[in-house]
């Protein structure tokens, strides 16, 4: 076990844990953002540099600070490490720079992008970036590449996080999907415009932090914040069958895998579940999926608020009775 101090909070984690995962055991606003790191994918991380943190003391044995900021998603902890994230001015300034770098070649077409509302880059830029740009030149654009009837690849929006490459590599037996070219001319693709034909290929849509890979059966149908996510499952011979159905009225518009609070897929789902079973009768409904309170999707308020029991205990009895009779928010229709 290693004991580290992250932003002044002490936490004990097993040896070999990365700094980012140690911070996630604390949780809350001090967790560094991650655009390319994805826990279920081996080898991911270290590319976007969004999670850079300052290590003020390397370990108990060697308490010198690390000379450069380190990527917290790939740096393992050492006993006695002191890490600064939100408490370090330098880290916050660097993160602003990273947002600017990621955005200079991003088309910023959020109003027509299907990912808007659940886009990692949007959240990252909103929380850590500045509202202006100093980039005056023309942005990088690509032709749309056809990779099959189910998935749309739009390279212009891509931030080259490599998540989809690792997904395609680790879920499929043979490699069809990768990065071509180098530098700012590198692009994700199949060589040459091969169709991705695999039962689990749809998972690249879920791992994409931006709108570069989108579901063709869902594109341009609805804004994500007008839909209602509902947990459901079915008996699937290929996968676990645990999914989220995105409803608009009575129609299932989209099916995705369940994600945790950091936007990481819990269980991969197969293409049959994702693209073909778009009837409520195909599924056993479990209940509304939990969406973070700060997310724009939760603007629908379909979930009753959880009231802190301590607050209830402190309230006068008349107020408690009043709350029970008139809950502050009612179940949406």
């Amino acid at each position: 076990m290693a004991k580290i101090t992250f932003d002044g909070i002490e936490v004990e984690v097993p040896d070999g844990t990365t700094i980012l995962n140690a911070a996630r055991t604390i949780g809350g606003g001090i967790v560094p953002p991650a655009m390319c790191y994805y826990t279920p994918l081996k080898g991911s991380g270290g590319k976007c540099r969004a999670c850079l943190v300052r290590v003020a003391a390397g370990s108990t044995k060697d308490p010198r600070p690390m000379p450069k900021l380190v990527a917290s998603c790939i740096t393992p902890v050492q006993d006695g490490m002191v890490v600064e994230n939100t408490t370090s001015e330098q880290v916050l300034n660097v993160r602003k720079g990273i947002v600017e770098m990621l955005l200079i070649n991003h088309p910023l077409d959020c109003p027509v992008c299907d990912q808007a509302g659940e886009c990692d880059l949007q959240n990252f830029a909103f929380e850590h970036g500045v509202s202006t740009t100093r980039y005056e030149e023309e942005r990088r654009t690509f032709e749309k590449i056809d990779i099959g009837p189910l998935i749309q690849l739009h390279m212009t929006r891509c931030i080259l996080c490599y998540r989809c490459v690792y997904t395609a590599d680790q879920l499929t037996p043979e490699r069809v999907h990768g990065v071509l070219g180098r530098g700012d001319a590198s692009e994700i693709g199949t060589y040459i415009e091969n169709i991705i034909d695999n039962d689990f290929s749809g998972n690249v849509i879920d791992v994409c932090p931006v709108g570069a890979l989108t579901d063709k059966t869902w594109r341009f149908k609805q804004r994500v914040w007008f839909t209602k996510p509902v947990n459901a499952h079915r008996d699937c011979p290929k996968c676990t069958g645990n999914v989220v159905l995105w409803y608009k009225g009575k129609d299932v518009l989209r099916i995705t895998a369940r994600k945790n609070e950091y936007g990481e897929v819990k269980e991969w789902i197969c293409n049959e579940c994702r693209f073909e079973k778009k009837e409520t009768s195909d599924w056993t409904i479990e209940g509304p999926a939990h969406i973070d309170r700060t997310s724009v999707i939760s603007a629908n308020h379909y979930e009753l608020p959880v009231i802190n029991p301590q607050i209830i205990a402190d309230l006068p009895e008349s107020s408690v009775r009043d709350l029970e009779q008139n809950p502050p928010l009612k179940l949406g229709n």
């Binding site: 590319k47 976007c48 540099r49 720079g97 990273i98 990621l102 100093r134 980039y135 931030i159």
Partner: protein, 114 residues
Amino acid sequence: MDETTCIVRNTWNFSRFYHHESCGQCSPCREGTGWLEKVLHRLEHGHGSLHDIDLLVSVAKQIEGNTICPLGEAAAWPVAAAVRHFRDEFEWHVKHPQEATRPGAVYPGKAVLA
């Protein structure tokens, strides 16, 4: 290289090299080297402004130390150093674009003795 070499053109050449060499894995280097090259191209061809000179320093600072490998620093440092030592020549390119972009133009200022 001697005192007749155009520093802006030379720095642009450095940047063009690093832009071409960047592998594209990490974002500061992938996007930053291209940005530096474009700004220097603008300055060299007489379309720059005085803000661009400060922009170069700021972008170089955003790249250095934040990349996976030292190519980021290698791309940022020559630019930052050129602006630090030869800012007057960069300003001459901005203020007198016609003179500075003439073929064989030599900066008329004093040579910097190190």
